[in-house]
Point group: C2
Chain length 136, copies 2
Amino acid sequence: MLEQACQQAGLKLTHQRLEIFSELAASTDHPSAEALHRRLRQRMPTLSLDTIYRTLASLEENGLITRVKTGESQARFEAEQRQHHHLVCERCHEIIDFQWQTFDDSVLPDEILQWGKIKNKNAILHGVCKKCLDSV
Amino acid sequence: MLEQACQQAGLKLTHQRLEIFSELAASTDHPSAEALHRRLRQRMPTLSLDTIYRTLASLEENGLITRVKTGESQARFEAEQRQHHHLVCERCHEIIDFQWQTFDDSVLPDEILQWGKIKNKNAILHGVCKKCLDSV
DNA sequence: CTATGTGCAAAGCGTTTGCGACGGT
DNA sequence: ACCGTCGCAAACGCTTTGCACATAG
């Protein structure tokens, strides 16, 4: 999958790109660049944080990964490209993916349809997860 | 309005706070700290950017304004506190507010209701506005 | 009069970039 | 051998902070 995409985009399939992508694809917690760096460093001790940033940027440009817009200072990433929504714990910053067919099917207000071209619509929920509620 | 809120929060009602808040309340374009600074500097030449940041932070803490989570590097702010949603042009970064009653009324998937305590749910749309579509 | 807020300048943080060395094709 | 990529270190932009003075209550 990554292989074809890289070829298509004229990107070389390097060891670093492969590892960064597969680590992200295996993660469900929407890691930050730093978090990925910490994890990958164990297998690849010389991997630099800069390379993570550069790789994430080029994978994003090619639509292979997504930068999750949380509004926090650190950017978070995901490999999941199917339509889904996010639920963010404002205490521990955990991010959960979920499906919501009712939302996907619902029609936008008329005024919006005339605004321009809508590329995507997503729901974002904020709250406090059970773990954080319990640990008070 | 700001007056009561400041009293309640134990904040002094300074000239700067008043001007920053009223400028933001009068803006519909979700300005950044820098944008506010540029606008206010004309009336208040000595107003520093730091004060804008500090003031926005304390107003936000007290629920008087909201930091809009766009995922861009610069934070954007709004004074509107009624439930509403955002539509972002990915070309010119314009942010439009809109109402969407159907969404507000719709019920969340069961799995989500068990996750913890949901504080708010919002829709965020991305696309390209007419102005940007035309100017290509 | 006292506690808070302000302006200034300097530091902080996540992220990006210029450079020379490295490695895939 | 060539061009893209990597690691290093230094720069960057936005935001935050320590300090001394000013100001609201």
